[in-house]
Symmetry: none
Subunit: 206 residues, 4 copies
DNA sequence: GATTAAACGAGACGGTACGTCTAGTCTTGAA
DNA sequence: TTCAAGACTAGACGTACCGTCTCGTTTAATC
């Protein structure tokens, strides 16, 4: 979300412009990819002056993170599929189909790359993307524990560590398969991967 | 490696220049990161004309892939540590320490991002980086099978699929932890992760 | 002067604002010169909204002409110094000291430059600046004729032509010396110049 | 003239570009005037990149001075017309017709205005325009002295002062008549003006 | 030893995009 | 209706790199 300076006087910022800009950004990502996307082009697509972009976002990175983060909000959820195995497999396929979208494909890695040099950007990614995904892990684990598929962690520190680990394993494998290995995450792969993870989780517990 | 057009006449290309350019590229990555690295700056650092860069590499992406790939060659190996568990833990820590380097940190994700739009770049990454890492998986699995820690795959197709899966799980988790979650891969994390993976591999087998 | 549309309803315009704006304009001219003077800056200095400027003046040019014209009103007069020679020398030094002011120095040439492309601006300059200066020529000549230093013109057309000529010679020389040659108009120069002009006027008559 | 750094290595600057840029600048001045002339537009007209302009000239002011100065070189000369009166009248009409050109009309005053704030620009104007005009005064006076129309100055200091005075009177009157009063310099005006100046010069001497 | 052909440095070239700035207009709520 | 505040469109600014090109100068292998 753009910075909201909470003013009281003067003309208020156009909320339409916000939407138009983010939509235009996603459209430009699809057509041009991260590398060729330009601020001027986004402004033109949104029917907005460049100044209006820069009044809200400090630069390309911030804008793209926000534009992409919105997709994570809309497309990640964890319906109860009845078993840990089904839940993991479901979220893997769901996440993979999100990563296959042309607007996320390039943009995600690009902003991650930038974030290694930019603390503000890293925080933005963490709160806009990472934390939202992690919450799915927490939900899924709680369900599995309720079902008796997974033991409860002895203490909170350990619980948090395990959640982080599971998150990096699942998200990391899907991202790596999709973007680095550049191979499709199909049902077969998801089945194999889920077997490995669920096996590891239950074996490690036993 | 830069393109070598196999000429016979004329002044041969300076091999010093090759080295100087790759060194300069890594130095520039450390200081500036991917985003601020420019061809002109690399040329100046290397004491070389811009033309000389473009005579050898098509652009920034190709140059950086080669500069980073050299590090993968030098720093990835798989000594026999006596057990599957020790081998996995070792390679995880080794890969993590490579990713912590400032010259790889940004560069790797950046070229991956670019590769989603550029097939030639994807091939270069695959042969220069991905395949070299995968070969470690093959070596490690063969050892584990020799030791009797893992069963032999029934057929080659399945063997290849499993190797790819293990590769994406291990590399993906380390990359994601390091770059996306932006948390350190320390021995504790490596232990937990290894337990999960080895548990999954042996459980899935049993 | 700003346009005064003689309204009766609504909040009346602040007369303080008029003065504050013109003062701020002159202050900005001194500090920044014509080129760097901005409407936003003038508004801020005057403690006034930009809207208020545009409600009174059509743009930068009009505003600056008015701000400068006020100085011409205050600082140009022609006391009777007893002789044609003394009157000319006096007005030359007076005009020169006005042109030496930093707020007139740049502004005058700048608005003249703009006026070559803008008829409305040319008229504004003519009535706000040129005509006021010309009236001094008429006064001075009438005195000189009364004193018998100059003959009376045979007809009005010729009289007008001569007045225009004298005006352009005196004002032109002072402006050119000050702004183009960028040399000071000191008493010595004024003496030499006056000798030339008065010599020409009386010789031409004889 | 653009800055000439006298290099020996590297690709030499295109002399065609120099000409094309100055021509384009004059064309743009005619069409748009000083205020609307933009560097980008000049570059486009000249078929040249903006960078190429900025490599040679520091900005709009410098470029326009050079573009206009070229006209002064080409169009100001002082053929011997047989008498001081004829020489003065000739140069007045010649200078007036130069000032009437749309490309000089606005530009000259505009750069003079800027020069009041910019010493480098003032120097450029002095050497590119003022000094060249002054040399005509020196030539004309020498001729008049040879003809016996004017006395020789007693010393050099006085000679220089007089030359400067005559220059400011002639150039100033023509500029002021043309640009400030915005009236035409026709033969009649030139005759009247010449009578005044020549009268003053010879009367002052007598 | 002379020739030759490519690689070399330097740096100008046409372009594209950047992020900033200013002009002048429009929209809000308070006076 | 004006005011202060400030967001808005439009577009020029000067900078930085891009990747290409044109020079004149090495430099090794061939003649």
């Amino acid at each position: 979300m753009p910075s909201t300076p909470l003013r009281r006087t003067g003309r208020p910022r156009s909320t339409e412009a916000d939407r138009a800009i983010l939509d235009a950004t996603r459209a430009a990502l699809v057509e041009l990819g991260w590398g060729k996307l330009t601020m001027g082009d986004v402004a033109a697509r949104a029917g907005v002056a460049k100044t209006t972009l820069y009044r809200r976002w400090a630069g390309k990175n911030e804008l793209v993170v926000d534009a992409v983060a919105a997709l994570f909000d809309e497309h990640l959820e964890l319906p109860d599929r009845g078993s840990l195995r089904a839940d993991v497999e479901g979220v893997v396929l769901q996440f993979a189909s999100l990563l296959e979208r042309p607007e996320t494909k390039t943009a995600l890695m690009a902003v991650v790359a930038e974030s290694t040099r930019d603390d503000a950007l890293r925080d933005r990614i963490r709160s806009a993307i990472v934390d939202r995904q992690k919450s799915l892990v927490l939900i899924g684990r709680a369900r599995a524990q309720t079902r008796g598929e997974l033991p409860r962690e002895p203490d909170e520190t350990q619980a948090a560590r395990n959640a982080d680990l599971i998150f990096d394993v699942i998200a990391g494998a899907v991202v790596h398969r999709t973007l680095v290995s550049a191979e499709p995450v199909d049902e077969e792969w998801a089945r194999g991967f889920t077997a490995l993870v669920v096996g590891g989780l239950t074996a490690g517990a036993g």
